[in-house]
Amino acid sequence: MRRLIRWWPLPALILLLIFPWVYRQPYYHVLGFNVLLFATMAVSWNIMGGYTGYKSLGHSAFFGLGAYLVAIAANELGWNPLWSAPIMALVVTVVAMVLGWIMLRTTGSAFVIATIAMLLIFRLLANNLRGITKGAPGLSQPLPPWTPEFSRMPFFYYMLFWLIIALLVSAYIRRSRFGLGLLAIRDDEGKAEMVGVNTTLYKVLAFGASAYFVAVGGGIWSYHATHISPIFAFDIIVGVEMILVTMLGGLGTLWGPVLGAFIYIPAADFILFQFGSSTAHLIILGGLMILILLFLPQGILPTISEWLEKRRTPRAAHTGARSMAEMQTPSGGPEPDTPDTYVSAVKQETS
């Protein structure tokens, strides 16, 4: 049974593959594309924000940069966005690593502010470098060659492909020595440095990796949107939604960002559809987010796994309390609950 459960991504993938053929209206194809886009970007953001613990609020900068580079390449060089997106994303990754090398001298909220500043600088550049970006009105690019009624489906499948790649990379990083170092940095950066983790190198590499799939998403989105402008390409809300989605599903987990996107994006769309005319959707969304932070602060997946673990070992909660109690025991006096582990070890050692 356990073994079978491990294969759950396969039926999920099959469902996703047939989805556009079951729901044939373009609306569902666009919604599906958006879900996959945000899932991909959240998986990517999670490498830095979840594994490493550095929460960037400026990842829209890489989204916009990817979008603009792809659009400019399509207009000036005639490069098809579908294959230029992953190439341009490599350029964005290099840019991210250089900027990251500077910004990652800061930690905590200073880092968050630095990333927002980075985003605003890119937006200013997009607005003002009119020769390249055409300024505030934005720039258009050639339409996809396929017929309009069919037009959304290739984007859906292409985005699905990139979500799978992003998940594979995220899973690979998590299992590698590199990922272990990132988790160590999240828990205690000074200690990680002390035990030999080159924290600067690790953080810069993680920042670059987390920019890559966001930039790929931006590139594909720009082709999908056909017209891009600074306010949408460098919109801080895009970055905020990557974070919300990740936190909803479970920060620092492999599948959390995906789950979060599959819940949040359709829900946000539904609420916008129902209440958008009165802008009440913003209030409802904000309220929902507050409720989630209050009652599911760790996100869905960690809460579930903790709950399962508690059911399996009913005394698990007790050990935490005991370690607290032991900390308060004064150093001299004998402890009431000396763990027999080291008592037996003492015997071995002294005999």
């Binding site: 205690d188 002390m194 035990v195 370690s323 001299g332 582990t341």
Partner: protein
């Protein structure tokens, strides 16, 4: 005897206070050297200078004769110098085994993208965990361990990088007597296997029993050094602890 670690005229000022003042000292290979002194005498600051947490205002640090002043902390671990902290620091949301695997001595770009844990590393980690009696907890999160177990885990993890010298900041701090005894035996047997120790400790009976050589700091200056029995009756040391 060869000198493993030494400092020359090391100094560090915090505002108006000389935390470490013109401090020259040496730790000989194969010894257990103690570092004692009243509260605020600069012991932990000295450790932080040696391990590059702070940069010294003046002076140099040498490891096996090579200058290591200002080297990034992460490099020192790969050169054979490790430390523990006064207040136990672990990777709380990683498992016991993972806590052991993070500090290993050789990590290059190639192994960076290799698997998180190699077979030989896991075997070594389990062997060390067995030595401190934690092998049955290898899959627990570090935060779930008791205080004493956390302290042992930090100690065992430091040994994973196969250090030549270990700086211990209060190994007996806050733990019960049977545990102190256990930690002392562990230090001794590791010392016999060739690991040099440099130990800050407040518990005098532990220091006197454990150390071959003791260095005394007061107000950032080295005021005495020598074998335990001499230090114990040194009037300068007694004065620093009890005087004015």
């Amino acid at each position: 005897m060869t000198t493993l670690l030494n400092t020359t005229n090391l100094a560090r000022r915090f505002g108006g206070i000389m935390a470490v003042d013109n401090c020259s000292l040496a730790v000989e290979q194969g010894t257990i050297t103690g570092l004692i002194g009243p509260n605020g005498s600069g012991k932990t600051t000295l450790f932080n200078l040696i391990t590059s947490v702070y940069k010294p205002d003046a002076g140099d640090i040498y490891l096996q004769g090579k200058r290591i002043t200002g080297q990034p902390s992460s490099q020192l671990c790969h050169r054979g110098l490790s430390r523990t902290f006064q207040i136990t620091r672990l990777f709380w949301d990683l498992s016991v085994l993972e806590n052991m695997i993070v500090p290993v001595r050789h990590v290059g770009i190639r192994s960076l993208f290799g698997p998180g844990m190699h077979r030989h590393e896991e075997e070594r980690a389990l062997h060390l965990l067995e030595r401190v009696g934690l092998e049955h907890m290898k899959d627990q999160l570090a935060r779930k361990l008791s205080f004493g177990q956390q302290k042992l885990l930090e100690f065992a993890a430091v040994l994973m990088s196969d250090p030549d010298i270990v700086l211990l900041d209060e190994p007996a701090g806050g733990v019960n007597p049977s545990m102190i005894r256990f930690i002392m035996n562990l230090i001794r047997s590791l010392n016999k296997e060739g690991v040099t120790f440099f130990v800050v400790e407040h518990n005098m009976s532990v220091v006197m029993e454990l150390c071959d050589h003791i260095i005394v700091l007061d107000q950032g200056k080295k005021i005495a050094e020598g074998p335990p029995n001499i230090i114990q009756s040194d009037p300068v040391v007694l004065d620093a602890y009890l005087g004015d």
